[in-house]
Amino acid sequence: MTRTKLELTRFPSVKRLLTSRWVPWTLMAITLPVFLLAILTGLFGTPAGSRNFGIIFVWIVWWALLILVMVPFAGRLWCAVCPIPAPGEWLQRRALVQSRPGGKLFTLGGKFPRRLKNIWLQNAAFLAVALFSVVILTTPFVSALVLLFMIVLAMATSMLFERRVFCRYICPVGGFIGLYSQVAPIEVRVKDMAVCQSHVEKTCYQGSDAGYGCPWLVYPAALDRNTYCGMCMECMKTCPHDNVGIFLRAPGKDLQTTQGRRLDEAYKAFIMLTCALAYSIVLLGPWSLFKESAYAVGTLAWWVYASLFLAANLVIVPGIFFACTTFARKLSYNKFSLRRTFVEYAYVLVPLGLVAWAAYTISFVFVNFSYAWQVVSDPFGWGWNLFGTANWTWTPYLAGLQTFLQIPILLVGLIAAIGMALRTANSQGVPRRAALPVVTFCAAFTVGLLWLYV
């Protein structure tokens, strides 16, 4: 089998850029003030979401960049420049740019509870945000409180625990970025495993004078998926043998193997898929009853909505998929346990979920993007006009043309999902027809989204 990977770090300029301590700091020094401005405008600016910098820049500009560009093409690169863990990490290191001797961290250094060393917390955190998302996405004050809570929690965990525990186990955004980063055509990996095996000090994990041990608690030599690599490049800085590189690869390469598949990640795939569908119905559909119920937190209508939303995420969609995998197992002569069949096939939903989110994002981002020009000039909605764009009128970009983007994107995801389903059957050594129930599920989901959008 040929290795189709191009090492980007073999180019000296790329390597210099990626191993510079100044680059991530500079990018965080840009994203952090923007993030703080989003919080300030949310707390003190206009309550009208469409005129508030916090709402527009976080939930339209940043979200579009994240889901349409960064995650599919650069994996977890956002995590490397994310402002949320930055203050906590700087406190933990007692340094902004340069590393401490031996990569020493100033923290109580507690170990995160073993039972929580998975992404169930992230699943719960995302679901909690998603449940209140109609309020969070549209109410600047609430949105700011959520962002503020996240940054305070990230700082607290940096003080209490080792490294980036918040990013690895708690962040509601990090969970799905990790899951979908497996699709990205880029990866950080060791070049020669034998070098790592003979390297006793393991400076990539322990830290050294050159940098910190992996903030994501990952031993780079064991890295075989993008899911938990935050692309911070610390391992590249601390490896004395120049044995870590960044590679271009075939998209979705991490998903070609069924090894190491887990129930918590499988449920992340279900939650993401279901939320994409739910948002498409509730937020973008013509049914005002859903929107009003989702917005009226605490009312009977909201409780009904919340029950349905949670049931769809945790029971209904996984249940339908479970029925499909039960049938798939029967077609494969019950070769494997139901749990293994269910979990392994669930990863088929990774490309499907990513394209569903892309299609959903396309539906509202372009038509609402012109609000960004207004809030750049008047972030608080106080009547400023810093750059002369505050009074630019709302202009729906690509209105009526979104479907021409959505259809091919959904199709690419469906085809990738079908390929993965058949590959899963193949890797299990069962007849390929066993994948057909899962293929049917994926096709039905895509048809449902097409019906909503086209």
């Binding site: 559909g285 013509p286 929107k291 009003e292 038509v367 979104q402 259809i407 469906l414 079908i418 086209v454």
Partner: protein, 154 residues
């Protein structure tokens, strides 16, 4: 020129090319549409925070439509995707527009005047039937599913 492809790879190239061709055919294939005499409709749409009533409207392609927008509680707009129609109504002062629905498919209409928290999601739908774009999208999907199964089955 003489080149050789392994049988399996050749087979897969053939499937991929055939699938793409069939998908393109589904885009341009003339589809049968029932003969229909266009009609004229007047549709009253009430806009309130944050909903249009009715939220979903179905008409036939070729129909002449007059939309009368009534704002019930605040200033609201109605922007119709794909038709570039934009209306703004105030309470007690309705607005209207007449146009021929000459494009088929599903078109969102959305409030074009910031009216509160859920303003970006104040959305309705105009369904101009028959929904040929959906039929084509489903045909393309069917081709894609069959092609993908054939491509990855080996």
């Amino acid at each position: 020129m003489n080149f050789h492809l392994p049988h399996g790879r050749y087979y897969r190239y053939l499937i991929a090319v055939s699938t793409v061709c069939l998908m393109f055919a589904a885009i341009f294939l003339p589809l049968p549409v029932d003969a229909y005499t266009p009609e004229t409709h007047t549709l009253q749409i009430n806009a309130r925070t944050f909903a249009f009533e009715p939220g979903s409207i179905a008409i036939r392609r070729g129909d002449t439509i007059t939309i009368e927008l009534e704002a019930l509680d605040a200033v609201h707009g109605l922007y119709l995707d794909g038709y570039d129609v934009n209306l703004v109504a105030e309470p007690g002062k309705s607005a209207s527009v007449t146009f021929v629905a000459d494009k088929d498919g599903k078109f969102k209409f959305r409030c074009s005047v910031a009216c509160g928290a859920l303003h970006p999601f104040m959305i309705g739908e105009l369904n101009v039937e028959p929904d040929i774009p959906l039929v084509r999208a489903l045909l393309i999907t069917l081709m894609g599913v069959i092609g993908a199964l054939a491509f990855f089955w080996k």
